[in-house]
């Protein structure tokens, strides 16, 4: 009686362990083997807006930071990075400024309601062949406390959030398919 009970316990433990091992190595559950997009962030195009160089740089750097934080992409590459040529499943992020209202930190501190810095950009995620995957208009403002450059940080966070909430198409499993594209 005792021996059969022990055998059944051992059997049950074996089944549980087997299930755990199966769950771990099943193809659907392992995210590291699933194909993932990489993204290359291009420099910010100021468009017709009278945007200062420091704002363009701040948006670009904040975008790279925020996209890295989301961990949605396998690699976040910079504009001009030569490694991008060898990356399969690459998306390109283009940012074009549509509207920029320069604000004033002093005015914000004095009036509370005035002096907001406002930024509106068009964010496009494209495939290397030019096919647009995501096209959104995103805002970034600083209304109350903070320096004017904080608007760029808010904007980058909103862009990263928008991209994360958008369902991207499945990247191709074979690198060959991507590398064959121009």
């Amino acid at each position: 009686m005792k021996a059969s009970k022990r055998i059944s316990w051992l059997g049950l433990t074996g089944v549980i362990l087997g299930l755990l091992v199966l769950a771990k190595y099943s193809p659907g559950s392992d995210s590291s083997t699933a194909p993932q997009w990489s993204v290359q962030v291009l420099k910010v195009d100021s468009g017709d807006a009278n945007l200062t160089a420091s704002f363009q740089i701040a948006i670009y750097e904040s975008l790279i930071d925020e996209l890295n934080k989301t961990k949605q992409f396998k690699q976040v590459l910079r504009d001009g990075d030569r490694n991008a040529r060898d990356v399969s499943n690459l998306l390109i992020l283009k940012t074009t400024v549509q509207n920029y209202t320069p604000g004033s930190e002093t005015k914000r501190a004095v009036t509370t309601v005035g002096g907001a810095t406002k930024l509106t950009v068009q964010s496009q995620l494209c495939k290397p062949d030019g096919q647009i995957v995501v096209d959104r208009t995103v805002n970034g403002n600083v209304r109350f406390i903070g320096s004017n450059l904080k608007a760029t940080h808010n904007l980058a966070r909103n862009v990263a959030k928008t991209i994360k909430e958008t369902s991207l198409p499945q990247p191709s499993t074979s690198a060959q398919a991507q590398s064959g594209q121009p």
Binding site: I57, A58, E61, G80, D81, P102, S104, T106, A109
Partner: protein, 195 residues
């Protein structure tokens, strides 16, 4: 006897006329040596270490954002060192563009903001009118070893931005024509702020 005297006179005359020539020659040599030394000194000053206090706002290699420290030029590299932390640096030759700007910021940080909020009868707003300071900002564009574009922004005391920019240019940093536009843009922004 007379002959000898005349000869002696000639020697004295030669000695008298020759000495200024020697003095002149020595003076010329000394002057040229001094000039050479000055040139060498000038050459040294262009590679002499340059160092100023700055706040790193963002983007410069692995330096933390909004960190105060020392921005210096060591030989051919621009280096930023936060107090008590190891320095990070970028080769000046990799700098693709330098932009100058101006920014007006509130002073005192969070304690001052809280104090102004707590002040009765809107007194904090009056303080805000005067509690701001103008700074220079220097924005750099540079490339890494893979050709990837980077941007960095530093905040400096008023008047120091131009000095840093000139120093970078003299040591081989590239500057595009956009520079003058950016200055114009910044002036417009400052004008807007002062409205």
């Amino acid at each position: 006897m007379k002959h000898t005297h005349i000869a002696q006179d000639h020697t004295t005359a030669y000695a008298l006329t020759g000495r200024p020539a020697v003095v002149l020659l020595s003076l010329l040599i000394w002057l040229s040596v001094t000039a050479l030394a000055q040139n060498a000194g000038q050459a040294n000053t262009s590679t002499a270490p340059f160092s100023i206090r700055a706040t790193h706002l963002l983007g410069f290699e692995s330096a933390p954002d909004n960190a105060s420290g020392t921005l210096s030029i060591q030989e051919n590299a621009l280096q930023f060192q936060k107090d008590g932390k190891p320095a990070v640096q970028v080769k000046i030759a990799s700098v693709q563009d330098v932009f100058l700007g101006e920014e007006s910021r509130q002073v005192g940080g969070l304690p001052m903001t809280l104090g102004k909020t707590a002040a009765p009868f809107g007194g904090g707003r009056v303080v805000s009118l005067f509690a701001h300071k103008k700074y220079d900002t220097v924005s750099l564009e540079y490339v890494d070893a893979n050709g990837g574009a980077h941007g960095a922004i530093f905040q400096l005391n008023k008047g120091q931005g131009e000095i840093l920019k000139n120093e970078l240019i003299s040591r081989g940093a590239h500057v595009s024509h956009r520079e003058s536009e950016s200055t114009k843009e910044c002036t417009t922004e400052v004008a807007d702020e002062s409205k």
